[in-house]
Symmetry: C2
Subunit: 185 residues, 2 copies
């Protein structure tokens, strides 16, 4: 899995317009009208924007070979023409989560919370990309990005509700749910 | 485990002078006389230096609770007055390693290569700090840093030799071994 940095720039302009922004828990994030996604390191930081959230795709931290094969088999790529709905959900987990050992985090994330199994149920309709931010000293640990067709909006609600009810989510101390839409590609 | 960025600046000046620099495998790194370690993000990159390697401390990726407790119980901190010897060993692993799933990497790293168990045998004499670099798009994946007293230099040789003989090391495609010394603190 190769590493690519992505910048999510919230401001007045961007390919994705903000349909709704909800503070799930923790400190708020400035309201913006649109989000632009820019890969790579920004040579110059744009001025006059509300926020820039950075994260990098990286190797999976918890997925077993069997789970990875199932994900690879079922998942769809981003930028599918019918997928004009998206969600950007930045998440920060507590210090208690990060103090856990690898086996304890895996136990909570999958054995008890079924995080990977739940996500698999919604493939290929809900396409996803996970960005890691914590090691950059960012204010969130992860930026999760989802794309889906308007007809699958209810399925997406089910997915996020199911995850928020898990034991893993007890460790989420900040979460913003930004829903977006774009014109057809 | 909190995240802190560190910059290893190789150049003419620094608290640690280079005693020896050896290319273990892969592309070389410019020869320098000294290394200075600077925490945090560099506001201005110093000019006229040989190289700057960046990495962040982060949560452990493989350690179980039992192993983490054993490490915490035995390990010593950095900057102990008698520990005037150090090694900076930047490592890059192959794409094949990063394509493995979490359970496959754990199996190779610990079950078959005993990476954590080997390190434990040399505590508290050999103090260590691991820095993650891969997600920053750096040329190395990890920067490993070790400190020990001159009297423990042979033990340190045993440790690095034992690790280099493991199956895990088949996935190391670039490794530089920089040995350093400093005056008493």
């Amino acid at each position: 899995m190769s590493v690519t940095m992505f910048n999510f720039i919230g401001g007045d302009r961007g390919a994705w317009r903000v349909a709704e922004m909800r503070i799930v828990c923790g400190a708020s994030l400035a309201a913006v009208a649109a989000v632009e996604i820019v890969p790579g390191n920004l040579v110059v930081e744009p001025s006059g924007v509300g926020w820039i959230l950075r994260g990098a795709t990286s190797n999976h931290r918890y997925t077993t070979r069997a789970e990875k094969n199932a994900l690879n088999h079922r998942q769809a790529g981003l930028s599918r023409p019918p997928a004009t709905c998206a969600a950007l959900i930045p998440i920060r987990k507590s210090a208690a989560w990060w103090e856990l050992a690898q086996d304890e985090r895996r136990e909570i994330l999958e054995t008890r919370s079924k995080h990977i199994e739940i996500g698999l149920k919604y493939l290929p309709e809900i396409a996803r990309r996970l960005h890691h931010s914590r090691d950059f000293g960012e204010e969130f640990d992860f930026l999760t990005w989802f794309e889906y067709a308007p007809a699958d909006a209810r399925k997406f609600e089910e997915l996020v509700c199911a995850l928020r009810e898990t034991e893993e989510w007890h460790y989420v101390e900040r979460e913003i749910d930004v829903r977006l839409a774009r014109d057809k590609f």
